[in-house]
């Protein structure tokens, strides 16, 4: 019950204005009531389409966005509404690795300055920064001479490693990795995930990993949560979710994962239409207009978050409906 990070019913809203100069002001919930726990030393994967609120949720945890409702507790301490001055020291414990590896590195700083920047920001002037830089480069498996290079002189995979070194400089407890492998080649992706796994074992890190690559989630995470329109639609132990998906959206995601085998028998579920706009959330079950198994009451009745027997939970009136009806 003592999770490192407890997220409870969190909403993140953004103000929007309707068309034209006189348009009405309103707000949209990019994250709309998400609850999840991340335990020490464990990895939690968040999967979902772009626009499903994954990154916004991560930014709410790190204080980069303000959560409008709910509670985000780190070791029991409430992070929501924490003033910036009090948040800053916590940023040595909760760190974020950003999506764009090269874009998140300042082009005018050397790798040495980039990876030792956290020490300067946290006012640790007594540290020997050259020694720290060399330790960090060694930790992520980069050669020492990289310290003097600039971001444009390194490859995308190496830039990711610099990102890891910088994030882990202050020995954090919780690492939030936003798409840590997007755009990487498969072999470099493997290196990156192995590096994260090794550092997790060595440092006892908890990791929250955001991705839309299910192959990544399957290998590195303990628990996985599937997000759709700013809500979790399914959550459970990773192996369980992969073996027995409950929600049709999870099933569609799993089925949409092409296998590197031209003869693989594919169970394909093509979702109808586009993800709906969060400006006009669908009534009832928010997935109903794209669900291949939609039933009459899905249009009006909102499904509740309910536990399944196998340790997971989901938000669907008819979990595993494809099994009962043998539609597949």
């Amino acid at each position: 019950m003592n999770a490192l990070l407890e997220i409870e019913d969190v909403f993140v809203s953004f103000g929007v204005r309707g068309k034209g100069l006189t348009g009405k002001r309103g707000s949209i919930d990019a994250v709309s009531g998400v609850s999840l726990n991340i335990e020490q030393g464990k990895t939690y994967g968040i999967v979902g389409e772009s626009g499903s609120g994954k990154t916004t949720l991560a930014q709410a945890v790190t204080g980069l966005h303000h959560a409008s409702e709910g509670s985000i507790r780190y070791r029991g301490q409430e992070l929501r509404d924490l003033p910036e001055a009090k948040f800053r020291p916590l940023r040595s414990e909760i760190v974020m690795m950003f999506q764009d590896p090269i874009g998140s590195l300042s082009p005018r700083l050397t790798i040495r300055s980039l990876i030792t920047e956290p020490f300067r920001i946290q006012g640790m002037k007594d540290r020997d920064l050259d020694a720290e830089a060399s330790r960090l480069l060694k930790m992520v498996g980069l050669p020492q001479e990289f310290a003097n290079r600039y971001p444009y002189q390194i490859s995308g995979g190496q830039a990711r490693r610099v990102g890891v070194a910088r994030a882990l400089a202050l020995e954090p407890k919780l690492l939030i990795a936003d798409e840590p492998t997007a755009g990487l080649d498969v072999s470099v992706q493997g290196e990156m995930l192995n590096l994260l796994a090794r550092l997790q074992d060595e440092l006892g890190l908890a990791i929250m990993i955001i991705t839309h690559n299910l192959n990544v989630v399957r290998h590195i995470t303990d628990t996985v949560g599937i997000m759709y329109l700013g809500k979790l639609v399914e959550e459970g132990p990773t192996e369980e979710v992969f073996a027995n998906p409950q929600h049709p959206y999870t099933l569609a995601l799993l089925a949409a994962n092409p296998e590197p085998d031209p003869d693989a028998k594919l169970m394909r579920i093509e979702l109808k239409g586009e993800p709906p706009s969060i400006l006009q959330r669908p009534s009832g079950c928010e997935f109903h207009n794209r669900c291949p198994f939609v039933q009459a009451n899905c249009h009006q009745d909102v499904p509740q978050w309910s536990n399944s027997e196998l340790g997971g939970a989901h938000r669907c009136h008819y979990p595993q409906i494809w099994k009962n009806n043998q539609v597949v």
Binding site: V186, H219, L253, P258, E259, D261
Partner: protein, 350 residues
């Protein structure tokens, strides 16, 4: 007259839409000549979908930019020819090339968010690119709406009046495909068209490409580093490594019986292949060689686990091992002799 000359020089006309022969391209850099492509040969048959796989930096983008002749200013063609319908694109004048682009060869780029002009409506952009046709504006608009419908955009007429920001990423990529296919090109080049999209949208795009290819009858050159997508969509696959084509063949041959150690390693690395949960994923240790200072012998030898003395001194030639399946590796020469002798024996016994 030039036509006559060309037909004299060229051998008999082939069935291929695109034939690249012995193409080498260098980039001039402060450190010296960077040999981005070396002796690349490949072809795309009529109505075929050919995939190119390879890590970043293997020369995929250089190859595409050479085909559409939009090379960087520091690039020089060292050797080779690019035959498009038996016409060498490298010898064309810019004006002739421009007449081909968008009509005979068109392209879908990687990032759907940056492909469209943000300040013009989709309809305006789709009408503008038909500037070569002598249709009335209304007819051009009708045609644009028809293309949007074809790629599965609901309510196309109304959508024509909207701006790019009003569409989602998946829709924008489908619009880009609609625009690329508007002139019914013979060759569509798709440069990682699904990497910026999610799994479910990726499936949509691939399905749509398959349907359209069927309907329009074009050939597609599909670049991706997602092996699963290649396996599903393509007829043939070309594997590139550090500027060379190291293996080529039907998707089934290459994915089931990879002949080059690099292809085998790449397939093994794909986490989609690994069904059991593991915390230690396979990787290919080592780095891609420096293309300014090339090693002698096989380009892959520094990372190859099966290398032997000959690999360090002699560059393996690209050779066919069976039918359309070809590979550039010394190993297969010995393997091949074994295999053929086995086959001969079998042939005798049966």
């Amino acid at each position: 007259m030039p036509d006559l000359l060309q037909s004299e020089v060229l051998p008999e006309t082939s069935d291929n839409v695109l034939d690249i022969r012995d193409l080498s391209i260098n980039y001039g850099t402060p450190r010296g000549e960077l040999q981005a492509l070396r002796h690349v040969s490949m072809s795309i048959g009529k109505k075929k979908i050919v995939g190119i796989v390879g890590e970043s930096g293997c020369g995929k983008s250089t190859l595409i930019s050479a085909i559409i002749r939009l090379m960087a200013s520091n690039a020089t063609v060292q050797s080779g020819e690019i035959l498009f319908k038996d016409q060498d694109l490298l010898g064309l004048k810019e004006k002739q090339m421009r007449a081909l682009r968008g009509i005979d060869i068109s392209m879908v780029f990687q990032d759907p968010m940056q492909t469209h002009n943000p300040v013009l409506t989709i309809g305006r952009q789709m009408v503008d690119i038909q500037y070569r046709d002598k249709l009335s504006k209304a007819n051009k608009k009708k045609r644009a709406a028809g293309m949007l419908a074809l790629v599965g955009i609901p309510d196309p007429e109304a959508r024509l009046n909207q701006y790019p920001y009003e569409f989602s990423g998946g829709m924008r990529q489908r619009i880009a495909i609609a625009m690329a296919l508007m002139a019914k090109p013979d060759l569509l080049i798709a440069d990682e068209p699904t990497t910026a999209l999610d799994a479910t949208l990726e499936v949509q795009i691939i399905k749509r490409l398959e349907e359209l290819q069927d309907e329009i009858g074009c050939s597609i050159l599909f670049i991706s580093h997602h092996l699963g997508v290649i396996a599903e969509l393509c007829d043939e696959v070309v594997v590139m490594y550090a500027g060379e084509v190291i293996e080529q063949g039907s998707v089934r041959d290459v994915f089931h019986n990879p002949a080059h150690p690099y292809t085998a390693a790449l397939l093994k690395c794909d986490p989609g292949h690994i069904k059991e949960k593991t915390r230690n994923l396979p990787t290919i240790p080592g780095e891609v060689p420096d293309l300014v200072d090339l090693p002698s012998g096989c380009i892959y030898q520094q990372r190859c686990t099966k290398g032997f003395a000959r690999c360090q001194s002699e560059r393996p030639a690209f050779r066919q091992i069976n039918g359309s399946h070809g590979v550039a590796c010394h190993l297969t020469e010995t393997d091949l002799s074994k295999e053929t002798s086995q086959q001969n024996e079998e042939g005798i016994t049966s």
